[in-house]
Symmetry: C5
């Protein structure tokens, strides 16, 4: 996720923002060359050139904008749902922390409480690593003892197993008589919500937008942009390459942002800052037990990027 | 469901993606022939030809795009709701598994637990077969004993009966004193959610978009595309067949994708991969009891398709 | 509700689908006559005719499409919410059936269970008749004994009274010691959901879209269509009647579908098939108690219509 | 709220519907006069007149339609959310009535039950009067005894205090041993929902759409309409005043409807019929206790209006 | 938040509303100068000037409007969700107040009740200050005793710690035997909802719209507006500066409103009136215990602004 640097309307026009530009640079160059070709053709070989004018472009242009807009809406909805799921995970973490330190009547520095909250943090990190296909060993080792870490790593779906361990802790507290069935059930419901977050993230990750949308939109957008110079040359002459690159930029960059947001858990510049969100959640858990060893908040790098 | 193969923007223009194309190939061919006819007519028989120009097309074109876009949004919402229902089913399966192995205090390899989790898996498969009008016998026989399978197959709505059996198991555990009413009620609520998934899928399956939308949009889209060459011939001459096929492709393929997504439980290329989702859910259930006999994950076939 | 008959893209162009067409036939005829008048006028009395050209039509056309689309979205949302409410009613019926036969420990053929499930079915039928302003006597008499039927018919809102009877049954079972307060509360929550369905249907039925939308859109759409021939005649000449009827058809039929869906409980072809949904729910209830006397599923009539 | 009178498509064109028209009559007249001015200017003083043509209007027209449509969607969503909140209030009223007469085991004509249901009705009326800034004394005096009425009227937020009284009644029944904590908690949850209705209505009432939207849209729409005649005069000549009034009507009336719906609790023709909804809710409560003194349903007045 | 002053349609055209105008004044001035340049260039140096005409503007204009509209929808949704979260906080505050004074059986002026409700109010103020990066000391000192205030101020996330204190109070009441587990659980659920409000606000604050949208839209909108005069000059001549500033105003102001709403917790004119909402919530809490010392309602300042 790129953090918005403060700026004025004027400087924002020239802000260096590579995140999407680099994905459309090559096709924009092709478009520019086609614009030059159109200029050259209209003066030197006009009778060989296709008889295009802006009419079909206005016919298809609005339809294309509506369709691109649909894909963009769908992808942004995926992004925002993913963010909401991660937010809900932080909420549950805080709820569980409050639950563990008030209802059980255990002191804040009780090892059982610490282990339970570490399991919650481990769930968050394990989910992050599962969604990014990376190795959770280091994150888990920092939080849990070695044997349990090995146990978790052996499983197919690590967050699911961590939830199971956590549930066993809640049930154990109930069997120790720390609370009755009603509060147990209330605690288990929080775990069910964590599980729903896990399932929701797997759903977004595992089911991209139907591929036919991508293919159809990709083809129509690029074909539209490729023909554009030949449609504009008759009306705006020498300005064709510039204007056609501008229109192509709007369409292609819009298309490219949507592609980045489609899988919001990836590692691209506009994706969610899962690492930073995980640390935030761990900090909230640490605060709940007045811990001293707060992990430092992640700061954006020199490209204003937060991972 | 077609899985997105990794590719660049350039190769994506030529990726072979038959899923929607084959549905619009015939009308596109007709459109191309009409384009040739318009070219021929404009030179050889211009006084016989309808006096069309692009004006009415720009009048109706935007309206058409907005209406096609409505239908597309509605169909995609059905698709995504269906996916969310199946995701919710997996969540409940995991919740029930955690419930059965922590709250009842039964060992993970207890036959009652195994039977309960097999009933959950059987619910998933029975729903898949009901939604696809296929025969669930093999899937059920793999999970449950013969008599129960016969019992299930005799019913009108198999998943409903499986839920009933599952509920009887939960109530039985309560009567055995394994947990009290509060946890029983918590378990039953999970079954109610499974039932809501069943009902939601039946709703999406049983109530397509009002038919009048289909008829109206089909007629206007095809009529629009059929007249298009005669509207463009005056402005772009010989390029008419190509450009008119391009515009028709955008509209017809968009219309066709929506038609595929309308019943997301079908067997068409862009429909939900119910078989693969069922196996995923069964794997999650198996992991919960540390089972060794995990069913292998389904992999996409050579057309990148997941069923 | 019209069930979609299987067909190809080609035959679908000519499918006889009277549902919406008959509502717009008269205005389309008027539009056609205005088109002929425009053709006649442009050749015989051109100096008397209004100096129109397509410019104002493209100005207002897009705005009109956007506004028509808003009304259509709102009406479809009402339709789909109504369908979802009826789906939720079926879910609750099944939940109540499972509840009655597993938690109470009564046999499936116990008269109390039968009466409770009949009350659920009676609720569904009573709601259907209330929404369609028809007489529920026959449906109720088939399910409940005569005195209770008279009792119900005396009330202002019959479904509300049926819920009350059902709630008394659930409370009675609790007082008989069949279950405790926790399960009673769980049962009562299902009745609250049924009540929310009743309230939701009353809301949709009792509050149509603000009337000003209808009047405004009706006037602007019809005025637009009436002027259209005079705007097109200068550009497309003899093709005017045909093309203007085509454009008018798209706008008016779209407007008409939305009008049908606005009250989804009516008896028009695209409305919800309440009769069929009621029977489906009764069948689900019957299956739950292994009843033999399943009411037969309603089949679409010769016009593919399901009521 | 205006009730839709039954009519045909033809008579609907001429139906007298003053609700919105009277708000746009003055600007439409100005627009008509500007149209006449444009006609006069184009013949008598064409060299003094601004050189306008339809080009900028088509540039800004679509954008304007999209922006007007956004505001309209947002205002309609407020209207429908408000209606849903009032619907939810009726649902809770019925739920509480069923609760009071089945769970407490009190007879239907018990004074405590009557008082509780009167408190629910008083909540509804008090909310109506708060939202419309009117005096609730008469409505409350009809339902509650004098001292309590004075007590309520002294408070800042009357519905909040009524809820408190109701909650005390529910708690008292629990202390009398009529039900246990579980059913009490279930009753209190219904009051929390009533409270959420109160809060939701206050939110919609107290936070209109950001004012900047209104100012921006108002200015651009009116400026657009004022310039329109001068843009059209070159293309459609004498038809300018008529056509420009038609286009202005569509935009301004659309803008005006949205303004009416923005505060759905007002007293304008398209606002919610709070008086009628309150009576409906009271009738539902009366039916629950088989009361004879049903308040008569409010009927629309001669302008088809329901308040 | 700017409160809507009552006005007529005519005076509204000239209402001084600086909130957004001041953000677009500079670019509008630049646009006006470019318009003058275009007028000058078209008469004095027409052969040096780019050959533009309105064609590319109509191609890109609609697409731009659709994209601007997407960003606006997303930002408004953030604004409204934030408002709904604050509304939900007020609901919970009232629920907790009713809970504390009816269920615990403590008198309204009991110090424990007062402290609990002050903690709720402190939560609201602490959240406001966290969202606006301001110092909560004064607000907290007014409500809580000094030691607790210091304790709260030491924490990283103050509202989280206040919730913890509140939860300890609810648990303490349960341990004192004032209510059982069921009502405790019901109280804790309200705290979980307050926590969800905290998390939701942090989510909206911490995750702006992906930055790429801002950059892309900013560039395309400003570039579009800068080129506009040169596109219009050929069609509307001397009217160019005026009309082009009008079109630019619509696009840029729309863009600017969305930017203000994106972070609805800021201190800009159209942001949420957090100070006023906090006082409203405190007033509701004070009313619940019949307190005399109601904080006065905040009134809009001379610019109709509510903070």
């Amino acid at each position: 996720m790129i953090v918005r640097p403060k700026t004025t309307w004027f400087r924002m026009l020239f802000v260096w923002h590579g995140s999407v530009l680099h994905r459309v640079l090559a096709p924009l160059l092709v478009n520019f060359l086609l614009g030059l070709l159109a200029v050259w053709g209209s003066t030197h070989a006009s009778h060989f050139f296709p008889h295009l004018n802006p009419v079909p472009f206005s016919l298809i242009g609005v339809a294309l904008a509506i369709f691109v807009s649909f894909r963009n809406n769908a992808c942004y909805a995926r992004y925002w749902e993913a963010r909401t799921l991660w937010g809900s995970m932080k909420n549950q973490a805080r709820d569980l922390a409050r639950f563990a330190i008030t209802v059980t009547d255990l002191p804040k520095d009780d090892p059982q409480v610490a282990r339970a909250l570490n399991l919650v943090a481990a769930f968050v990190y394990a989910l992050k690593h599962q969604l990014r296909d990376s190795d959770p060993r280091d994150s888990l080792a920092r939080l849990l003892d070695g044997e349990l870490v090995e146990d978790i790593l052996r499983r197919d779906c690590r967050p699911q197993y961590i939830l199971e361990c956590l549930q066993q802790q809640l049930v154990a507290w109930c069997r120790q008589g720390r609370y009755g069935d009603i509060l147990l059930e209330s605690g288990l419901r929080k775990l069910d919500t964590l599980n729903a977050v896990l399932g929701g993230c797997e759903r977004i990750r595992g089911t991209p937008l139907p591929y036919a949308y991508d293919v159809l939109l990709h083809r129509t957008t690029y074909f539209y942009c490729a023909l554009l110079p030949f449609g504009l040359i008759g009306s705006i002459g020498l300005a064709t390459p510039l204007i056609s690159v501008f229109i192509a930029y709007a369409f292609l960059a819009w298309h490219a942002i949507a592609s980045e947001l489609e899988d919001p858990f990836g590692d691209e510049p506009n994706d969610l800052a899962l690492a930073s969100l995980s640390v935030d959640t761990e900090r909230a858990l640490r605060q709940a037990v007045d811990a001293r060893d707060m992990p430092p908040r992640l700061l954006p790098d020199l490209d204003f990027r937060l991972r």
